[in-house]
Amino acid sequence: MEEKKPKLKLAVYWAAACGGCCVSVLDVHEKLFDIISAADLVFWPIALDTKYHDVEKMPDSYIDVTLFNGAIRNSENEEMAKLLRKKSKILVAYGSCAHLGGIPGLANFTTKDEIFKRVYFESESVTNEKNVIPVPEYKAEEGSLFLPSFYNDVKSLSQVTEPDYFIPGCPPQSERLLEVFKAIVSGAELPPKGSVIGAEIKTQCDECIRKKTENKRIKKFYRPWEIKDDGVTCFMEQGVLCMGPATRAGCGYRCIKGNAPCRGCYGPPPGTPDPGAKMMSAVASIIDEKDPEAIERVLEDLADPAGTFYRFSLPVSLIRRKIL
């Protein structure tokens, strides 16, 4: 009998995520068959019925590659992150949420109590006469029932465990996933631990197809719907806020191709501790005013600077959450 190379064991897990990352894995379309022929999917809650206790029974380092998507929102997420770290040879933080905290990370602008108040009491579609809120432990007559406890802060994967690699994107481009997967299957030399893979090292602006000049001067910020976009000129030159200057390239500038400014899901380029601060620095330097009042007027158009500049990266930014 012909001896076969053992198949790779692949796992995909979602924590606090929208499910888009799992769909992006499916987005490889017919290439999924190539993946399945090269790897066994051992754990994938969106598609397979493997239970948590099945994962617990696996020997340590049993899974070759785990794609972990989603931020750490509650104790279940953290427990699974640590469990999968133990069971996998390579743990990949897949997508913006695992990499930077992502959109769920914006919850760090508020607190657990505020969120509970809004969701369980104030929401227009909720009637909660008995004032019930989820508690981690509930004693029923038949015994105790447990729920994962909800954290006050949203964290990125690297803040609770040590991922080997990061694949950024919201969601990551499927072509990039295939590249990474091929590299792992072919046994090519892998980059050092902790590096961002499936992305470039330059910024978005560096590979952007729009026409740029040195003369970037902004006297007023516009929302994308307020301008008549010519489809050619740099968004920043038209006065539309585009996260390109502080965002890593590698997504294939899809948003730009679709005539929408960059939102910054690929995260900061290397050597940038705080993506939003970098962006603030870039934007402030192209405002064409010198008088404090005039600058104030220009800045008024930025309704939500923190939310715009840290859309995907609040939990990993320097300040990390709203100070209360």
């Binding site: 602008f109 802060d153 964290k155 803040q159 609770v160 940038t272 501790p273 705080d274 939003g276 601060a277 970098k278 603030m280 620095s281 934007v283 402030a284 330097s285 405002i287 005013e289 010198k290 404090p292 600058i295 104030e296 800045l299 930025l302 939500d304 600077p305 923190a306 939310g307 500049f309 939990p315 930014s317 320097l318 300040i319 990390r320 959450r321 709203k322 100070i323 209360l324």
Partner: protein, 178 residues
């Protein structure tokens, strides 16, 4: 044998009493020392531009002006070099206040570095207000090379302001985070 132990005990008692007496005498001093130690000493990071503000601070020093010892001065070539990252990093590492000083408008050695600084400062003010840091903890002031006195006054007033605001909570909050 027995006698010796008694005298020993007595002498120890005497010594203890003496120490206690000394201690009682020191109580007011110890109390003041204690309050000095416990008093909130703000830690302020100041970014001063090489051409005007640093020279201004230097003038305050060479003219023997007294000002509060709470500022830690970092010299940068131009106030336009002060990135928002610097300020946020200072806050994240436990600074209670951040002071940025540059040349007066129109006086910048690099023509318009201080205007860039002004815009970044105003942008940062908007951001830190949103993230819950008191806007008063960050201050931008123009200090020329001849304004040693103004620099000393600025440091004193800013230190007082930060003392009123109390210690910054940012570092502790980040500690609980990860």
């Amino acid at each position: 044998m027995k006698k010796i132990t008694i005298t020993k005990r007595k002498s120890i008692n005497l010594i203890l009493q003496f120490i206690f007496y000394l201690y009682l005498k020191q109580v007011p001093y110890i109390l003041t020392l204690f309050t000095i130690i416990m008093e909130f000493k703000p830690r302020i990071i100041a970014f001063l531009c090489n051409w005007c503000s640093y020279t201004g601070a230097d003038l305050a020093g060479t003219s023997r002006m007294e000002y509060k010892p709470n500022v830690r001065i970092i010299r940068v070539m131009c106030s336009g070099r002060v990135e928002p990252t610097f300020v946020l990093k200072a806050f994240a590492n436990g600074a209670d206040g951040v002071l940025i000083c540059g040349c007066h408008p129109g006086d910048c050695h690099y023509q318009e570095g201080n205007y860039r600084c002004l815009r970044r400062y105003m942008m940062l003010q908007k951001y830190i207000r949103q993230i819950g840091i008191e806007p008063d903890r960050l201050k931008l002031e123009w200090i020329s090379a001849s304004e040693g006195k103004q620099f000393a006054e600025l440091v004193n007033s800013f230190t007082e302001k930060i003392k009123e605001l109390g210690p910054s909570k940012i570092k502790d909050i980040i500690k609980t985070f990860a």
